[in-house]
Symmetry: C2
Subunit: 347 residues, 2 copies
């Protein structure tokens, strides 16, 4: 087998959700959009439902289908993109709750699924999704009359606790929702960590569940192990990989492993990234190819049959730094070629 | 429907293969590894088989399964990673031809599947996959006696026709294979374009088929269209997206579209990338989120219901430049959330 193995620790996912849940007095939902950040929405949602999560969020109605099948008929599944043209059947058939983002969506929902539950997303300054204060002012009475199940907004700068934007968005959310006896939610992982003031009735962690910053106490969730295809000795001055970018400074031992950027191992991470054999990190040499990576294993005393890219030594956030991005993008890039293995019981 | 649509033009894929094939007098294979560079190995392989391709290459034995089902029982499918531990059943059951990369693999193959076809990959200086000259010298007689179907190597610098490495690898390949009456192949798209000297008995284009450089005459193959979720007016000084990185310089009209880096729209491409409505390019504003992108559509006279990321104006190579990478990585990153639509007949 030459495809790499992505191991997903459901016990760690459950522990992370539990630890986040323990920090609040309110409901703790679980964001499982983008296929649970690349880790498998169906399996992850089932594990979290078993752990006690009672509310799930996806990005698009299409994503709600597998989550509905995973968690059973009753638990609410909310759709961030709301009620888009063409979504009506999915929303009805899979009992999804669209978070309506605009007056257009409110009208579409009322016209097509008048008795079907919905929520409303408010824009408190991120200018991404949700009704603006003026728009909300205009339709608030009608919308409330229709009985929304949840009012949410989203923080733009919650990974920086000192940013003024957090307080501004909090104030705007309070202003827009005051006197309304409807459950409210403002915070994802970052906002949850800002403290109780930001919790309202429900938090919606995503990245913290999956082991990433800003939840510094998160347990790592994913491990990637890549088979070694072959090992060679190269002499001083020999080159490795495309465009001859790496030249052996002394005689080196090079392993070629069978994964590459088609597996979401972002090309840009190459120069700073190591592959591990036990506790020993071996530098990537040359460019990451589509399906192959060269690794300098001169340091190793043994001959490895596989090397680890992602583990407790080199987390998604370390890889993100190496690639000039964020841990979220490391996870969602992982791709479809891995052999996926889940650790932890699933009843 | 809020998920984006990835349209793959099989007519263009067939035309690109035909155009590459027309430049050689030898066999022209098709590389369909990494799920045909993200575009769907099964459908693409079937289309290319109908167009006349008679040889297919994949990276791992696991990838050979869907290609075998797509092209029928007879056409050869070669596996670049060779015969790995655990591959024997797949190689036999799906009639795959491993390209043996080392003496270890040669022994494994001989011991497990002695009468099953194989090829040999030689290393001519890239130091990635394949037997080294000294290793080959040692086992060449035995290996040839076992009857390899194909001898290949791979060029490290073929996208730069002036690079000395091309000639060096050519010479090494000739030295290693001389006097052997076995089909030979050295070149992928880049080497094919270097001219007849590099063609030997078979070329193995990949990226050129899929519309990317270095095949400058390639027809674009993929189009991405992303639904607009909502449109808002922002005033001077308002911010859009995470961390408030974009500030409106004047009153602007902003569309939020429903795709993001979870769809392989690499975060790093944001600042330089536009989304198109017809011929008008509208800049991305703020950071690309996991499932959402903000776009300044002030320039547009109409109200779009969708915008295009990838099209004839903004090809995979333009996006690659914007993201600081190569067109190959743009394609292989596209991810699993798109609604995929194929253009062109498939018998």
């Amino acid at each position: 087998m030459s495809t790499a193995t992505l191991t997903i620790d459901l016990t760690a996912i459950r522990a992370n959700w539990r630890a986040l849940n323990a920090r609040t007095q309110c409901e703790t939902a679980a964001v499982v959009k983008a296929n649970a950040y690349g880790l498998g929405a169906s399996t992850v949602a089932r594990a979290l439902a078993q752990e006690g999560a009672r509310h799930f969020f996806v990005a698009a109605a299409e994503e709600g289908v597998s989550v509905r099948k995973a968690v059973g008929q009753d638990l609410p599944i909310y759709v961030f993109s709301g009620h888009m043209a063409g979504d009506t059947d999915l929303i009805r058939d899979y009992n999804l709750i669209p978070m309506l983002n605009s007056v257009d969506q409110l009208i579409r929902h009322a016209e097509n699924l008048s008795n079907h539950p919905f929520g409303i997303q408010l824009d408190t300054g991120m200018n991404r999704l949700g009704m603006e204060p003026v728009e909300w002012q205009a339709v608030r009475d009608i919308a409330v009359h229709l009985g929304p199940k949840l009012l949410i907004s989203h923080l733009a700068c919650s990974d920086d606790p000192s940013h003024d934007m957090n307080e501004q968005q909090w104030q705007s959310f309070v202003d827009m929702t005051q006197d309304l006896d409807i459950p409210k939610s403002l915070s994802a992982t970052g906002g949850l960590l800002l403290g109780e003031k930001y919790h309202f009735d429900m938090t919606r962690p995503g990245i913290g569940i999956y082991g990433g910053l800003p939840f510094t106490k998160a347990k790592p969730v994913a491990t990637i192990s890549i088979p070694v295809i072959q090992i060679r000795e190269v002499d001083t001055g020999e080159t490795v990989g495309y465009s001859n970018t790496w030249v052996a400074p002394t005689p080196r031992r090079i392993a070629t492993v069978s994964a590459g950027y088609a597996d979401g191992i972002i090309r840009a991470m190459g120069p700073k990234t190591r592959l591990y054999s036990g506790n020993v990190g071996c530098p990537i040499v040359g460019r990451i190819s589509m399906d192959l990576i060269g690794v300098d294993i001169t340091l190793l005393s043994e001959t490895p049959t596989s090397l680890e890219l992602l583990n407790a030594h080199q987390t998604i956030d370390v890889l993100a730094d190496n690639a000039g991005t964020i841990g979220y993008e490391i996870l969602t890039s992982l791709g479809g070629r891995y052999r996926r293995k889940y650790l932890g019981d699933l009843a």
